[in-house]
Symmetry: C2
Subunit: 501 residues, 2 copies
């Protein structure tokens, strides 16, 4: 879930200076309209790791906007008054009324995450708290609150560097406490627990927006622009009809949040080095070696109690079929089944979306290989508008749950995204058109999809951000060189199965 | 949650014979339209206690409707095939496609409930399973499935009688197994676990419909009429616009399910014997005694770590104020706070619905007494249309969660509904108008509410059915005789606090 926030996002200070005044003015304007309309409150929740700029951002928002209409709250140890009431009372007390903005520096998630990271609560108890959080946020959203949750992220390395640099400066030294370093030591645990929080409480109405905290200009602009876009979307939407507040289709659409804007045009895919070297001399023996290992794993007695689901997604002509053939060549035909996934047929359209994938789940000791998959909903269906926004927004959660159920059952879930460059795709399309026996592989659909290249890339980045989880991470495969791609796929698969057994 | 299903509901066999043919014809007709429209599937889930007529009802539905378009499934121990896939796979396999009807005799809830009742799973694990169930049903509902869940209920006494009568008849003896009697012994545990299931998985889109199983004619008509009403509502609703299936306001309203129809005009309130004897000679010493006990309890050191929330709801002029005064007379004024709840003011309207009640939660060792309460949403706001159907439908779950949070914190929640007859209300209204100093107590609103008497009574029955829980049960108070009502209120309160300490 944190992949996109470890790309080294940054914005020049100059660009920042150029963009800040307009953003600031627009935020002030939105705040004024919010106060006049008094139709909904804005609630900004700030969470994330230490040293990622949470405090600075809170101060900045207060500086940018009119602080008379903002209520900022931080939550330390509960007061006597608070201890005497149920846990959520302290948060209910500070909810902003319609027309105002509340900023919560830490919120209902903070203690559950820390207590779980320090192993003071059980996994089951934490699950229950996540559920409480989900319900509470659902209630806020049903009641019309515009809820924006920002998660400030730093990699372990960046956190260390940040704490050190704060310590070096006499002006900021006081901000680094022993506690901060102790928490840094527990970084991996904290990250794992946080990932579960972010996955389970990222609903369609209130997803966590994960912001890379390293570069101040980047994170400030990102938060500001996101807040502005969300406020404008709600302010400009027509009011919901009748008292069934927030239930109309228009209101629903207005409620769904924009994903993070691409402030610095740096995203997961654009950061990939698509041309990777791999000569045939290296490829042939490596392939043989990996296929041998995969074959042995497939016959391992331990695998008889497990199963594997392998998902291939990727740009058109990225080489999914070729990679799959190198994989199946290592397996006994009785032990795997391949499922090419196209548009749903009539029987499939008559069922809930995931039905056709549930049908194809493998038995113990078997592989199911999906050439395209359940991710169609958040890729082609989203981009082409085959389903409504509410449907693909809720899909992220459903897909994560689906894979978590597979994992809980002992199924190993391995997911590949094969990425080629736009030029490489053109080259392959042309080549396919010219070779008679490959002609069937290129259709008008392919050319049409190509026109929406950017929209697809955005959908892929969002998909990886929202569905790359500890139990079922995405592997991005640089695929301009087919040989390299096939080796990376096989090596990853072998490694994942070895780890699991 | 099961109160309404222990009233001895029944329908004459004659009346049944009179009504059955039309119901049957209408169900067949609905089934034909369902098959032609192919817009959604119908999924009927049958759960509940042994001996309550589950099997008979499943057979009857197959007899009434065209069995060629119904798929009925029962679930025993999982097959080999099923064991090799995740837990939910067996249910995905049998989902009916759009246009068809599926009947599940036992479903995803069955094993979790039994395992919990037999203490084979922990409370935390059961909570997690409830959550999985909730999410799965939410997905079905989001995907457009018309999901109807019937819970067949018998009291412990009725279950025993039923098992015995089956055993007596040589034709049905085979149906009673040793297992049935073993389960009967665990009735109380099973009931407690079932209540939690029904409470936690009764969402606005898919509430459990609790049907009393004693009388065959009653339960058959109830299930048939409910199924028919739900199907007609969806069949007659215009199709949702655009691909955002099931997300429009109209679709939302069509999705919300009707409550159980009042087949035999027997409901919780109509079964109350409102005129209860209580002379002043009995009343005076009883009052003094109870007030003394309440006072001692309020000063009990154990109460210093607890708190109490007392809710008074009731018909207009039912004597809430008088009952509250007899209660507060027993308490130190520093120890309690009374909150008369009227229509929300501007500040309250600017916040989520429950905000104004959270504000008033008592500190440890204190009482908060609410003269009307959070139940306004499912009473006056529902009946007068001050909020949309989706809002009051989701409120049941929110109110239950709210009270569960209070309970978890150690707050004792006691809820009273004071009921008077329509004639008694008229008498009191007239008396108020004639006595100058009581004149302020009668307003045009009161007369207007009175015109909606039946709608209010229905709302009250639904409220009790959906929000009377183990942690916060409703106490219905027969209040035609004020003296009796006050004593019942005080006695119940004293008893609940004594139990809790």
């Amino acid at each position: 879930m944190f992949e996109s926030a470890e790309l080294g996002h940054r914005i020049d200070r100059e660009e920042y200076r150029r963009r800040e005044p307009a953003l600031r003015a627009a935020l002030l304007q939105a705040q004024v309209e919010l106060g006049v309309q008094k139709r909904f409150p804005v609630l900004v929740v700030i969470g994330g790791v230490d040293g990622a700029g949470k405090g600075e951002t809170v101060n900045l928002l207060n500086e940018w906007m009119d602080p008379r209409h903002i209520d900022t709250h931080a939550f330390g140890a509960p007061t006597d008054e608070e201890l005497e009431r149920p846990r959520m009372w302290r948060f209910w007390r500070v909810l902003p009324p319609k027309g105002r903005t509340g900023i919560l520096f830490g919120a209902w998630h903070t203690r559950p995450v820390l207590e779980r990271a320090y192993r003071r609560t059980s996994a089951d108890r934490f699950e229950q708290q996540l559920q409480e959080i989900e319900r509470f946020e659902q209630m806020l959203s049903d009641e019309g609150v515009l809820l924006l949750k920002f998660w400030f992220h730093l990699s372990k390395k960046d956190q260390k560097a940040r704490l050190k640099s704060l310590e070096k400066d006499p002006l900021t030294r006081w901000r680094v406490t022993r506690e901060d370093w102790l928490r840094h030591e527990k970084y991996d645990r904290f990250r794992k627990v946080s990932e579960l929080l972010v996955r389970r409480t990222s609903t369609a109405d209130a997803p966590w927006l994960v912001v890379e905290g390293v570069d101040e200009c980047y994170r400030s602009l990102t938060v500001g622009e996101t807040l502005l876009a969300a406020m404008r979307r709600r302010l400009d939407a027509p009011d919901a009809p009748v008292p069934a507040s927030g239930k109309g289709a228009a209101a629903k659409a207005a409620k769904a949040l924009p994903m993070l804007p691409a402030i610095d045009r740096r995203d997961l895919l654009s950061m990939l080095q698509l041309d990777q070297p791999m000569s045939r001399e290296v490829y042939e023996p490596a392939l043989e070696l990996l296929q041998g290992r995969l074959n042995r794993l497939s016959r391992d007695p331990k695998f008889r109690r497990r199963s594997a689901v392998v998902v291939f997604e990727g740009s058109d002509a990225a080489g999914k079929g070729g990679a799959i053939r190198r994989l199946t060549a290592a397996l006994d035909a009785r032990q795997y089944h391949g499922f090419p996934i196209a548009a749903p047929d009539e029987a499939e359209r008559a069922q809930p979306y995931l039905w056709r994938f549930w049908r194809h789940l493998p038995r113990r000791g078997h592989f199911a290989i999906f050439d395209r998959s359940w991710y169609g909903r958040v890729l082609v269906e989203r981009v082409e508008g085959y389903c409504g926004e509410a449907d693909w927004q809720r899909a992220y959660g459903e897909l994560n749950e689906f894979e978590a159920e597979l994992d809980a059952h002992g199924t190993i879930v391995v997911k590949f995204w094969l990425q080629i460059s736009k030029q490489e795709q053109l080259r392959r399309f042309r080549a396919r058109e010219q070779v008679a026996f490959k002609n069937f592989k290129i259709t008008p659909d392919d050319w049409r999809n190509r026109k929406r290249w950017d929209a697809y890339q955005q959908a892929v980045c969002d998909m990886v951000d929202r569905t790359s989880t500890a139990v079922a991470p995405w592997t991005l495969v640089e695929a301009n060189n087919k040989l390299y791609a096939r080796i990376k796929v096989l090596a990853t698969l072998v490694e994942r199965i070895e780890q699991a057994l």
